[in-house]
Amino acid sequence: MKIYYKLLIILFLFSFSASPKLEIKILNFDQFKSYLHKDDGQVYVINFWATWCKPCVEELPAFEKLNAEYRQNGVKVILVSLDEIELVETKLKSFISKKGLKSEVILLDDPDFNSWINQVNLKWTGAIPATLVYKGKNSSFHEGSLDYKQLLKMVKSKL
């Protein structure tokens, strides 16, 4: 019986070390800014969202599909979460595992919104979801929900 317990404990520990630990970059706007100005020939798709935002969560599958289908073709999807920093461990990480999100997630922790919203795009009123697609200097911005077709159209005009 004891051996079973030991085995169980070993298995338990092993399963922990085997599953990769989910790491999320936590950045303020100054640290994040460079993600808006990459010029490496890739198309960057930057989506602003939060776990509690219903229309944001509803459009995530479109971004995941884009990431799966176009990652090899020079498209980089970055999901920029605006969740509160206190909820990273309890909510954001479990959300990402539960949904099995494969795109890169960054937490943008900078509540001084007025200082940076216009630096993302002058047209942005601040409502989420919002999406910026760019390649070098060629960029387009959309405030509000996107379906896969609309998202693909934004991306394809830059490929």
């Binding site: 939060a50 219903k54 605006l82 509540p111 919104f113 007025n114 919203i117 009123t125 409502a127 989420i128």
Partner: protein
Amino acid sequence: MKTLILSIFLLAIFSNVQSQGYSIGDRAEDFKLLNIDGNHVSMSDYPEAKGIIVIFTCNHCPYAKKYEQRIIDLDKKYKSQGYPVIAINPNDPKVVAADSYDKMKERAREKGFTFPYLFDAKQKVYPVYGAKKTPHVYLLKKSGNDFHVAYIGAIDNNYSDADKVTEKYLENAIEALQENKNPDPAVTKAIGCSIKTRKK
């Protein structure tokens, strides 16, 4: 033909302006919306006001919740100085059940709202203002019988922690009006929850 093209062109410009809502200096149209106490409220119910703090807000949005106490405090501080708060919920409860009229009553009671909390049930008022999210503030200044838009945007620069606020945009704007100055900045931006409408 030329006139037709011209009129289509003008119509396009006009409708575009309409959909963008108010800019600083625009005259704000009056509205008549149902309050949580069962009565209707209009701006004309405030003949003594020097201005009105119109805030589009709602029950469900985490940003809106973070500002509830600050909105109560603003109303308590500035109502007696002639600048009362009028809060308006612009969301369609068919999209977000937590923003229904009954839930508005509940939330106002729980939090002890000191100001009217109106329901834009037909979603006709928020597009006239050009509100895009909750919370979204329009500070109006009375001149003659009219109200004009003096400030648009955020309440302050830290939704998450009131103690860490370094810029009280709205309070500064009210105080500018009290000194007969134009608010500076007159427009600020904040992240907010998109206003919820049914997909057309």
